[in-house]
Symmetry: C2
DNA sequence: ACCTGAACACCGTTCAAGT
DNA sequence: ACCTGAACACCGTTCAAGT
């Protein structure tokens, strides 16, 4: 029967989870869907656009946060990291799609963070930049964390000593978010 | 005559500046050097390692900073951004090499920033994370800035109205660095 | 020690032609 | 409207064999 956009994105996500981003190719995806490679180009202009759709799928669980601006930043950061860690190479894929401007969901997230920054007292000219700074942190941190996690999971049976110290990603993650909140919190007073 | 590592890196940098990262392929590089593709694998284990060497070349102008911890962070951030903007797709290439752990120069930069954070009063368990957070910002910001700059430069003859507002990357860049410095500056007092 | 030649196993994208 | 078949123009990497 007919191929729909959502079937393609679903199959792509399966491929990602099963084999990683390196094996998420247009040809392999076509094979999985039992269509010719060209068929995908009826539904998506190019690979970047398809990856953007996969990114948006990964980010579906990231819902609108509630509370004061600090709460909303915390919730968004935590939900974003959780979503990325839920799929093999999720952080890398979303990071690339964000940089390429192909993820609508990331744009929504940046908007929300921009509003939070504005509410914190950051002037309008810089609120979006503050929001993007938060996003750069979450993506950078999680790409890093996930690559270590996946490397450990594949063989490398616990280096034991170092891995304990390097562990507890959540606590480390929160420390970084705290740093940024600290900076934003003093932005209206201490900075020009 | 004989092919040396430094000739390969130099030719790769020329290719990067002239045609961008998408055209920096092992085969194209070999053609440029008038050797067979396999020859490159005598000098570099794989493409990632070669790109790491190019990243280190790009980062050569980033020198040891001086002054108190705030000065050193400012100087490092500014010099890093300048170096990335000096080569086509420089930010993207260095960002990828850093994520892959292939840039020795980036490790040195992180070390320096870690020391600065420690001097600012961030405890040892978190100083490196603070340093990485700064690096995530500089890389994320500059990847973004450079993609816009290069997009504008290629055709797109100044959208005029928007481009003036979106312009002055340096001032916007400094604002973000200020945010991070603010967070680090209060880290010893306000944060747990 | 250093490099060639040739192969292996792939890529993303396009597009006339079919249904 | 949606897809196939086949082509175009490439990739990164390996490795026996040569010098």
């Amino acid at each position: 029967m007919q191929l729909h956009k959502r079937d393609v994105v679903e199959a792509a996500t399966r491929l990602l989870d099963g084999y990683g981003i390196a094996d998420l190719t247009m040809r392999r995806l076509a094979r999985e869907l039992e269509v010719s490679p060209g068929a995908l180009y009826w539904h998506f202009a190019n690979k970047q656009q398809l990856l953007g759709a996969v990114a948006d799928r990964i980010l579906e669980p990231v819902s609108e946060p509630a509370g004061d601006w600090r709460d909303r930043v915390w919730q968004t950061c935590a939900a974003l990291r959780d979503a990325l860690l839920s799929h093999t190479d999720g952080a890398e894929l979303v990071s690339a799609s964000f940089a390429a401007g192909q993820s609508a969901a990331m744009k929504v997230i940046v908007s929300g963070l921009t509003e939070a920054a504005a509410q914190a007292g950051v002037d309008d000219a810089h609120a979006e930049l503050a929001a993007r700074t938060i996003v750069y942190y979450v993506l950078g941190f999680t790409v890093d964390e996930q690559s270590r996690l996946q490397w450990d999971a594949a063989g490398a049976a616990l280096p034991d000593d170092q891995s304990v110290l390097a562990a507890d990603g959540s606590a480390r993650f929160r420390f970084g978010v705290g740093l940024l909140l600290g900076g934003i919190g003093v932005a209206d007073t201490a900075l020009t």
